[in-house]
Structure formats: C-alpha cells, structure tokens
C-alpha cells in the first residue's frame, strides 16, 4: 500500500516509535507532528521516542477489510492512549481469544503490517499486557 519511499521515510516512527516533542510546552506527539499546534512558531520541535505502553480507549473488530488486509480478516483495531498522553491507532496482535475491553493495557511490538506490492511493510502493533 505504501510506495517504498513513503514507507521508508517513516521507518523511525514505524519501527522505533520515534515521534516528536515540543520543547516549549512539553507536549509529545506520536505519530509525529512537524509544528506544535499549541506554540506554532514559538515552539521547538525535536525527535522523541515514546515508550510504547498504553491503554485501550476504543476498539473494533474489522470484518470488511481495507485493501491489502483481506487475508487478516477479522482483525482488531484499537485506539490506544499512550503513557505520554498522545493517542495512536494500531492493530491488536497475539489476542488468541482474549476478550478485548476498553481500559486494557497494551505494549507496542514489531510486526508485519502489510505486504502489498511485495515490499513488506513492518511497523507497530499492540499486544495485550497480562497484569500479573
């Protein structure tokens, strides 16, 4: 789905959860933003790696797939609120029958996202964390 240059450009974010942060107001942006909407030109944007831990805010089980995701049906997408306060959309993985609930804790892991056009796009997915 993503042409090689478009996918390659975002590798630091997709592989390593590198977002941005405004040094002026401290807000963290993952996925990255290139200008702080609060501070605009007064802001000071720098790269910032998020830890990849968060809680599920909402989720849905997808039966009618996006193009390129047909083989994965049904798959679960979740909106996750990360510890740093920002939210990110990700597929859930390693569910294995686990019943997803709003509030579940997850951690980001490195998985295959899609394989359209032969180049394999890797990126982040969220895996439930078992509260021990």
């Amino acid at each position: 789905m993503a042409a090689p240059p478009r996918f390659w450009r975002e590798i630091p974010s997709r592989y390593n959860l590198i977002g941005t942060r405004c040094r002026n107001c401290g807000k963290v942006f993952f996925p990255p933003r290139y200008i702080c909407p609060n501070c605009r030109r007064k802001g000071n944007i720098e790269p910032y790696k998020v830890k990849g831990r968060g809680k599920i805010v909402s989720f849905t089980e997808v039966h009618s797939p996006a193009p390129g995701f047909e083989k994965q049906v049904p798959y679960v997408l979740a909106l996750i609120e990360l510890e740093e306060g920002c939210r990110v959309l990700a597929q859930l993985t390693d569910l294995a029958g686990h019943e997803v609930k709003i509030g579940d804790e997850v951690e980001m892991v490195f998985r295959k996202i899609s394989e359209e056009g032969e180049v394999i796009c890797y990126g982040y997915k969220a895996r439930p964390v078992k509260s021990s």
């Binding site: 592989y15 083989k71 996202i113 394999i120």
Partner: protein, 343 residues
C-alpha cells in the same frame, strides 16, 4: 582465549502452540518424536519480527547504547526475502544504524552460531565494540512430512563485547567441523525442503556434533567433567541426549538446556535458545559447552564460562521459561491457515 564475551542475551517464541499429537492425528501417524508441542509463528510474524523482539530483549540485558553495536548478523533458513537482507531490518529496529555492518548468514540450523563466530572475531580484533548475532527461523516443511512433527519458530540473540567485567559469560574457545554432506536441502523455487531420512543421523548430525565437541575439548584440554552444562542442537530430544551420552556427559548436564520437547525445532535458534535456558539458570563460574549443527553439514562448538555479572542480568528480560509458558493451543485447521498466511 578469543578475548570476547556475551554482554546480553534474549529469546523470543511466538504465542501459538500445536500439539504434536494433533498433527499426527490428522495424518494418521504416530507422535513418537518425544516432542509435546511446537511453536507456530502468527500471521504477522516472520524471521525479522521474531529476531527484533529477541534482539530488543538482549539489549535490555546488555544495557549498551545500540549506536555502539558495530555488526548485526542474522542467521536463518527462512528469511522474508530471497534478495534483501533481514539484518538491515533488524539493525534499523534496534537503532544500531547507520554506523554498523550487517549481513544475513545461511547454513541451515547453524546459521545463528556462524553469525556468532563472526561477531567473536570482529570484537576480538578490536574493530568494533559490540556485535549482535541472531538465529531466527519460522521453519517451512511440506504438510504431512515427518518434519511437520518438529519444525517450529523462534529466535535468539547474543550481543558480544570484548572480554571485560561487562560480560555475563566469556568465550574460552571456538572449534568447528565442516564437510559437504547432503543430508537436507531445498532448491531455489521449491517451496519445501527435502531430507535424507535416516542419512540425517550418524553421517550427519552425530558425525559433526561429536567431532566438534571432541575437537573443542581437545583444543582447550578439557573433559566432560570440566563442564557444568552441555547444550546441543535439538531437532528432537533423542539426538542430543544420545550424543551427550556418547560424549560422556551425564543427563543432568544436558537437561537444563533441552527445550525442544516444549517448543519443537527452532532451526537456527535451536542451540541458541537452549543456551539461553542454561544462562537463565546458571551460577557464576560455570562452564557451558554449546554445539550447533547445520545440515549440509557442519557444527560450531563454543566453550563459555559464566561470570558474577550474570545474576544481575537475568531478570532484565523475559526468560526462556516465560516464553515457553506464554502459549495458546491451536488446532490443525488454524495451524494450516497460519502457515498459509505466513507465506
């Protein structure tokens, strides 16, 4: 002494397991390979994703700056691309790029230890500070073939640094034994490998594992009594148990590193996951013999001595036992679907 040691180790096993009895049932076979269950990669997993999680675990234990890793080598016989290295994907995902060398290694199930040897060499020469070796496989096999009862998925990673008080284990020596022995192969374009049946036993596995073990012990002037643990390549439990016995090792030295009965044959990760299981349990100043085996054929042997540092490193990442216990059983239908989706 090579002048290198292990500063971090990590493993990864996928969550899915299938009972060998379930596979045997479908094909009307006997499940007599001595393995309970084997691990199966999920639809969004492959050699690269498993390698990355194992590598990140190793980094958690090593605690080194990934930018100081000067080499990333991935050994596998199931890389995601026929042409495009897995090692660069892993190197990027552990943030070791761009000032690093990388390459993929291939030698059936001993690709991981071949990568490890290269790391030991590079670090010992003083050219780089840390080097990362990974063995990772999501093994392919023809449905209904005997291999289906054992072929599994998993990864292990070792970060090598120069022998210093950073290391949780020090390499005492390396020895390899290699011949051209066609016991197992796959031609380009064919989806599944072929093997030589009983030919994979004495002239292949046993010849090379025994010769490598004996060669290493001779080189270092050691006997089985000098070792606390022996870890051998484990395509099933029978081969390593028998080889260990023939070498003169008592069962309690091979059992801690024998995990194939729980997870199956993880190919390039096999002896390396076994080693990790031993490291999870070993005490300081214990000696470990590791001998891998790759069809085609060859064995790499290492002698490792643990240090005081090991104890503090163990809890920094999940243990082999954690991954063994983290499992969900699937049936043959689901297994077939996962295999099909895995490509």
């Amino acid at each position: 002494m090579p002048g290198a040691g292990i500063v971090g180790y990590g493993v990864y096993l996928p969550i899915y397991r299938i009972k060998i009895s379930e596979i045997a049932r479908v094909w009307g076979k006997k499940a007599d390979v001595g393995i309970e269950e084997k691990s199966v990669a999920g639809p969004d997993e492959d050699t690269a994703t498993m390698a990355v999680e194992a590598a990140r675990n190793a980094l958690k234990r090593a605690g080194v700056n990934p930018k100081e890793i000067g080499a990333v080598y991935v050994g596998s016989e199931s890389p995601p691309y026929a042409v495009k290295p897995t090692a660069t994907i892993v190197a990027e995902a552990v943030e070791a790029t761009p000032e690093t060398t990388a390459a993929d290694y291939e030698f059936a199930c001993k690709a991981g230890t071949a990568a490890l040897q290269a790391c030991v060499g590079l670090v010992s020469s003083g050219q780089i500070k840390y080097a990362m070796a990974i063995g990772s496989d999501s093994a392919q096999c023809r449905p209904g073939d005997a291999l289906e009862l054992t072929a599994a998925a998993g990864a292990a990673c070792y970060i090598v640094g120069s022998a210093s008080n950073e290391c949780l284990a020090i390499f005492e020596g390396l020895y390899s034994y290699t011949t051209d022995t066609p016991d197992f192969w796959r031609r380009e374009g064919k989806p599944y490998p072929s093997h030589g049946g009983r030919f994979t036993g004495k002239p292949a596995y046993f010849r090379h594992v025994l010769a490598a073990a004996q060669g290493l012990m001779r080189k270092l002037n050691l006997t089985p009594q000098d070792f606390d643990f022996v870890v051998l390549h484990q395509p099933n439990p029978k081969f390593p148990m028998q080889a260990a016995q023939e070498l003169g090792f008592s069962p309690e030295k091979i059992l801690p590193g024998l995990i194939v009965q729980h997870v199956g044959n993880t190919y390039s990760a096999s002896s390396l996951i076994g080693l990790a299981a031993v490291l999870d349990q070993a005490k300081p100043n214990q000696r470990i013999l590791v001998v891998s085996y790759g069809s085609g054929a060859g064995s790499d042997a290492f002698s490792l001595k643990t240090t005081e540092v090991l104890e503090s490193k163990k809890p920094l990442a999940p243990s082999v036992e954690y991954y063994i216990k983290r499992k969900v059983l699937i049936d043959y239908g689901t297994y077939s679907k996962l295999k099909y989706l895995g490509g």
